[in-house]
């Protein structure tokens, strides 16, 4: 009798562990997909049409929490901003480029619970400015994400100081 109980407890624990792993894996996939979407929305190819820009302006705020805290001075973006403010800052920086590509590397996702996650990643911005100057910037970022209405949004972002002059 005792043996059967132990087996039942072990089965329940194993099922709980497996479902937690599956859920966490699913959320990780969703966050990775979200990052891909953000990179695609920010990136720019030559010949960006007005319609394309308008669509991006509309789509970008959906990636950010209300409000979002940025602890980074990249392109003078920093402080506590609303999603539309972040979007307009990104679009303003984007307008300076002829071509722009945003890529994320080595993404480490830690899903704390179903509604929050911590990210550590390397973001790389490559492109060419309107002045023909080539840009290749790499930053390590630490971000907090929150799940709002079923979608992961950036709640806080901090640039990690890899080098200290």
């Amino acid at each position: 009798m005792v043996g059967k109980r132990w087996i039942a407890v072990c089965v329940v624990l194993a099922a709980a562990g497996a479902s937690a792993l599956l859920l966490s894996g699913g959320e990780k996939k969703r966050i990775e997909k979200r990052l891909t979407q953000l990179a695609g929305t920010v990136s720019k190819e030559r010949g960006d049409t007005a319609l394309n820009v308008a669509l991006r302006v509309q789509r970008l705020p959906e990636f950010f929490d209300k409000p979002v805290r940025l602890h980074t001075q990249v392109y003078h973006m920093g402080g506590t901003l609303s999603p539309t403010e972040v979007a307009s800052e990104i679009m303003r920086a984007r307008a300076m480029f002829n071509t722009l590509k945003l890529d994320f590397y080595d993404v480490d996702i830690d899903v704390a619970d179903r509604t929050s996650a911590r990210l550590r990643l390397t973001a790389r911005v490559t492109g060419r400015l309107s002045t023909s100057e080539a840009i290749d910037e790499v930053r390590e970022l630490e971000c907090l994400l929150r799940k709002v209405d079923g979608e992961w949004v950036f709640s806080e972002c901090r640039a990690v100081a890899v080098l200290e002059k």
């Binding site: 080595d106 290749d136 930053r139 080098l163």
Partner: protein, 165 residues
């Protein structure tokens, strides 16, 4: 006889033994390229003329396994992972004081001998002490403005190895 050897080399018979060998070679190659000798492509001009933009190299992971990096050593420094690394040169170690005056590097108050720095520069940076567990790294190409060059102190746990040539 020789023709048979050549034929067997290029068109081997698919046996179980052959498949096992193929699998072992693939696993060994994957392990070596991920953990021991990481192939890298150099992008950027911060290490010119020692390393040219677009060059190919291999990062030897165990370069500093038995000893700590010393001034003059080359290091590959990671961001959040190993996909993107910075290639720089160690100029000072923990406890040292590093400073620039009219483009000359001073370590502990003495002008450093740097035969690898070819292009002149006019950098000026007040002295700073390298913290315990850190190294001070700079690129060889100091012809770019100081504000645009990524250099400074970083933790030794970010050092992933060194290029083998």
């Amino acid at each position: 006889m020789r023709t048979d050897h050549i034929k067997n080399f290029f068109f081997p018979r698919i046996t179980r033994r052959y498949l096992v060998r193929l699998l072992l070679v693939a696993v060994a190659a994957w392990f070596i390229c991920r953990q021991v000798l990481i192939p890298v492509r150099i992008r950027g001009v911060s290490m010119e003329p020692t390393y040219r933009d677009g060059g190919i190299n291999v990062c030897w992971r165990f370069r500093y396994a038995l000893r700590d990096p010393r001034p003059g050593d080359l290091v590959a420094v990671r961001f959040s992972g190993r996909s993107i690394m910075m290639l720089k040169r160690v100029v000072a170690v923990a406890g040292d004081t590093a400073a620039f005056s009219n483009g000359v590097l001073y370590v502990n108050g003495e002008a450093a001998n740097e035969p690898y720095v070819v292009y002149p520069c006019n950098w000026n940076l007040p002295p700073r002490i390298v913290n315990p567990g850190n190294v001070y790294i700079v690129g060889d190409n100091r012809s770019v403005p100081m504000e645009e060059h990524n250099f400074g102190q970083t933790t030794t746990d970010r050092i992933m190895g060194a290029p083998i040539w």
